[in-house]
Symmetry: C2
Subunit: 345 residues, 2 copies
């Protein structure tokens, strides 16, 4: 499960060096219709898939398999996935199952992809409405992370990824958290600041994944903010006004740090600091107490839930996390009340 | 990649003991329309797929995923595949990718499945005419092997599996080989003789797989007989008179032991002994020298081939195998001549 992650803003050079270091008989790029234009040369064949989560399907996986076959790819072929989480998840799945596993390199082009999908060895696609239910644990041999790709990201997408960066800081280090909360995500990117911050952030995920690659325990910590986050995401979808995943996670982090304060004494100053940042950067959750029942019902069906009891990752302090914490519906209601209050709702 | 293989003719008891030893929240059986009737009880749900290699498709994989989902299978669900290689390959693939990997147990019901597909961690299905090109390396946690299932196998299917048993003996032990060649495969099965022989045979495969689980080198030894065998199988398919895989492998073993004699001094008495057994049990290859060009062309496109050179696994003696041996078309012609002569063709 060892994974080499390179942080650089000289992507072309990094790829050349990797290709020299990794024996192969052919290189195949996988991109989507957005990232196709980023391909440095026409030297190697490119498999292009349609951009967008709605195309993260088995049909697209089949197309990649067919094209690998048409290119006479062998087990010695090296795949390079260039794109957001959709490309690295789907391209990684196709590569990891073609001839029972080609090696692949991930070059994430979104912040969310860089800090989440591209690292840690999960691949997958959406099957019959089941999000990422089918997949493999198959790590990219190498991941190249550059903040240069993010210059052209809409602020909304940058923010969506940044919620995971904040999550990693909550799971590891108070000082790192405070530095991150200084960001204004609508301002131009300061690469010299962001790249080392991403290195620290991805390092948090790598350390957790290394201790539990197949998510049998500790890796669940990476679901901090996601029990409430998924419920909020699901609610906005049902209402036909879906928010980006990361917005829901940001709001989920606020509610779950409140729960952490109530249950484990997570410092209230930190809860306030996180809530303030989320309010300023992501805006209001847009829920009322009339939504609580639906949210709680969704949380009961979360993958971490056991026997219908709501389960969260909670924090005693930054870096001191506890997985599989059962919380009652009443505790969730109280936390939602407090969080809405702090968010000015 | 560790795999627990149990040899017993008390299958129901073995399964009960395994279920007691492996924590799970639900058991799901996967069978095909032939092995469905073998299910011991109605205690657990059964997913049934259509029998036959022609149904080893992505559609069938999807049906298994959908039914696992309808059954609310979780990562703590235990899958038991009961059937021939088609069921253990396809069921294993579906299980190994559902939620990124459920644990599964294989109960092979054919000899070929027992000594080949069910053990060693390869899963897969046929995709757009590509045989087993898509799959995973994902070992069953446990394999239960019983010769009782083979009582109702047609002799043709028993023979098909037995070729792989002979192959394992050639790769390991002369005495084992001589004992195996005493079998009359048209006679009723002597379970007390066959079960320990299978244990030895599967042990050979396990030892090789343990040293090279991902087939990066030594595991290729298991392709003994298959360079020529695949070419013969392919020829009979083109002619619309396909033979079972194992028949082609048996003939391939004769030709490749001849090559082994020519190149590495494999004892001619052993070549004759193998050829005699194959002639008696499997009949003639049914080829003439007019077929050599087509056969050689297919061998050049074998997966072990590098730059169009024919590559075989060859033997210096029983147990002393050499992978990736390049042989010339002329050597293949000579070996085919000699083999046909010994087979009385």
């Amino acid at each position: 499960m060892a994974q080499n992650v390179i942080f650089t803003n000289q992507v072309a050079t990094a790829i050349q060096e990797l290709l020299a270091a990794r024996p192969h008989n052919m290189v195949v790029w996988i991109a989507d219709t957005n990232t196709r234009r980023l391909m440095p040369t026409a030297e190697h064949p490119v498999i292009t898939i349609d951009a967008g989560e709605e195309h993260k399907t088995l049909d697209a996986v089949c197309q990649v398999w067919d094209q690998l076959n048409a290119l006479h790819a062998t087990r010695h072929t090296l795949v390079i996935n260039v794109g957001g989480g959709m490309v690295t998840d789907l391209g990684g799945f196709a590569a990891s199952t073609y001839k029972r596993g080609l090696r692949f390199i991930n070059v994430p082009t979104t912040l969310l992809g860089a800090v989440d999908a591209a690292v840690g060895g999960k691949t997958g696609f959406n099957c019959h409405g089941l999000k990422n239910e089918i997949g493999t644990f198959a790590p990219a041999t190498d991941v190249i992370i550059s903040t240069r790709f993010f210059d052209t990201l809409p602020p909304r997408e940058l923010k969506s990824g940044f919620a995971e960066v904040v999550k990693h800081a909550l799971l590891s280090d108070h000082e790192q958290l405070m530095q991150l909360l200084e960001h204004d995500l609508d301002a131009p990117i300061d690469h010299d600041t962001l790249l080392p911050q991403l290195q620290a952030s991805v390092g948090v995920k790598q350390a957790i994944v290394a201790r539990d690659p197949l998510e049998q325990g500790e890796r669940q910590a990476l679901n901090l903010g996601h029990t409430v986050g998924h419920a909020l995401e699901s609610l906005t979808m049902q209402r036909g006004r879906p928010v980006p995943h990361g917005y829901a996670v940001a709001w989920g982090l606020v509610v779950e740090t409140v729960l952490s304060h109530l249950r484990l004494g997570f410092p209230s100053t930190d809860v306030h600091r996180v809530a303030q940042f989320v309010r300023e950067q992501y805006g209001a959750m847009g829920i009322t107490c009339d939504d609580y029942d639906v949210l709680i019902d969704t949380m009961r069906r979360d993958k971490k839930s056991v026997n219908g009891e709501i389960a969260c990752v909670l924090l005693a302090s930054c870096g001191d996390y506890r997985i599989a914490q059962q919380v009652s519906p009443d505790e969730v209601r109280t936390a939602l009340d407090i969080a809405r209050d702090m968010m000015g709702e």
